[in-house]
Amino acid sequence: MSDLELFRAETREWLEGNCPPEMRTPMNRETDACWGGRNWVYSSNDQKIWLERMAAKGWTAPSWPKEYGGAGLSRAEAKVLEQEMKRIQARPALLSFGIWMLGPALLKFGSDAQKMRYLPEICRGEIRWCQGYSEPNAGSDLASLATKCEDKGDHFLVNGSKVWTSYADESDWIFCLVRTDASGKKHHGISFILFDMESEGVSTKPIKLISGRSPFCETFFDDVKVPKENLVGERDKGWSIAKYLLTHEREMIGDSGNLKPVAQMVAEMGITPDAALQTKITELTIDEWAFSQTMSRMLAEAKAGASLGAKSSMLKYYGTELNKRRYEVMMDAAGTDGLEWESERSNDGDLARKWLRTKGNSIEGGTSEIQLNIIAKHILQLPGT
């Protein structure tokens, strides 16, 4: 038996023995997804046990080094773990911006002390993070951000505001882009800092979306004191960290590889499509297939651990546009049943709300137009204006 096969056998056995039955059922309610953090209320004891067991194995962040709370798995081993979890339909033990976004940035740019301080508690799901990037006047043009960060000798003083901060009202800490120097070019003078959302002067206000839900907030900073050691990387050079993280974010948003195919969704709705609708579904099926295979191909082509660079823009652009198309077709299939907003039958307008939510996919994390700009510039090498 090869090492990988042995690992698979051990993983399978461990999952069988340790994944509670309830954690092998589909997630239907929002609270079924575990985000962790200081104020997290577990929806069940099984959810708590599952997180604790997975964190103890290092499997909430399986490819991170063991010393920081990961399991040090190779890419192939991590893939096996993913497959084995999928096999028993195990829920993810933890959803976390700390794991998906901040962690990779700290691993690359953080000091040893910062890694030791933040990564293990991220892995254990003890601290919930949010991302402070966009501002009212810095959306697509992110580098023009203006949240002021002044050096006050023994601390920084932060003033300004952020917008579209995901779950800011439920998060414990924020990783935040701030302006430490406004005198030069806009890409210079940006710094990447971390601070506690319970700090004095921080306030949040949820933004109600067209879906009726509020996953995003406005976030305000009014004379917030931040310790100097919370600066990640070099002062004024945070833009490179921001770009690195955006690349990660794009790969994540574009990832529809695990989405249920639209043909299956329509079948589960109990709908028999007519010929015209069936043709639309098949066209989408072809693109879903070609896209998920392209994703696999690009990840395989990139050397282990290497970034996809500008190609992540392609995945972000195509994946989000594809997801919008998927939901348009599902709405076509559902007809007026898909338009119910408040009823038990529709699970409180689940389809309609999801459909509306997808409209943001091609805006958040860099709009489709920004992704096309990046492809034109960095891949096609077309001249700038």
Binding site: T282, L372, T385
Partner: protein, 368 residues
Amino acid sequence: MGLLLTDDEKMLQESAEGFFADKAPVSQLRALRDAKDSTGYSAELWAEMTEMGFAGVLVPEDQGGVDMGFMAAGLIAEQMGRNLSASPFLSTSVLAVTALKHAGAEQAAKLLPEIVSGKILIALAVDEGGKHNPQDIQLTATPSGNGFKLNGKKSVVVDGHVADQIIVAARTEDGLTLFIVPADVSGLATERTIMVDSRNAARMVFDDVEVTGAQVLGEVDKGADILNTVLNAGRAVLAAEMLGASSQVFELTNEYLKERKQFGRIIGEFQALQHRMAHLYCEIELARTSVLAALSALDNNPKSAGPFVSMAKAKLGSVAKLAALESVQLHGGMGMTDELDIGLYLKRIRVAQELFGDSDFHITQINK
């Protein structure tokens, strides 16, 4: 998963890339067209392709071939697509070889080595009307003496005007049967049809053409499965050719956008044009993956490859068309001239779209 090339495949890709750019660039097709060449391809090129082993890429080694599989055949076709190289590769090396491999050992043993050495060309006669429709074959083979008599017509027989032998799909009492007949058999009338892409096909009329049992490929009434296998091979390799043509016409257009000036600026600076190119880039990348996945399925799971081949041919049908149309538009008036190669790509892509099923055909296949 087969989406990454092996070292052998990479070597083949490189050698095919150099070979076709050198021996069969677009100017060769242009010259054949302008000279109204009676064959429509360069015999010299074909001889060199046999020397390179390309002609026998799917032929087993014990019959003289290199037996590298469909991925390799696709890589060769992709380079032919880039250069619009005209050759009997698709008809003889892909379609005929696949048919012969599934036929009796005797026929394969005789004909495959002759294909490898370039001695014979073989064409496949399936369609009878303007649209690909292998489910509706009307040409009949009726029992007569020890054999059959073939009656009916065939159209778009690719390379039918130069082939030595024709594989013809005929309706028999209880299904379809494939026959192989010499091109000069009595009762067979062949009319060369020069197509919009300056390549050649033929229309054929079978009038009491006599064949014997020895000319049956496979078994009587059992030809539908072989035909489907053969068509899937052709579809996937054709999709690879379309990928090559799309990539090339895209790159030509991208270069043009970096040179052409209007309003005192390089037109590639205009965002309206940049976004169209960036979108097309994404579509071509998806098309590339779908071709790789289809070829890999043919090599690894031939029995279940059908839906993947249909998805790839459908995807290439729409993406190659988009690439051709965008390229003409973004070249402006120059794209309409015969002087530039852009129009030649538009024409070849249009033909390749139709051959063995356009997007609509394959979407319908998948719907079934």
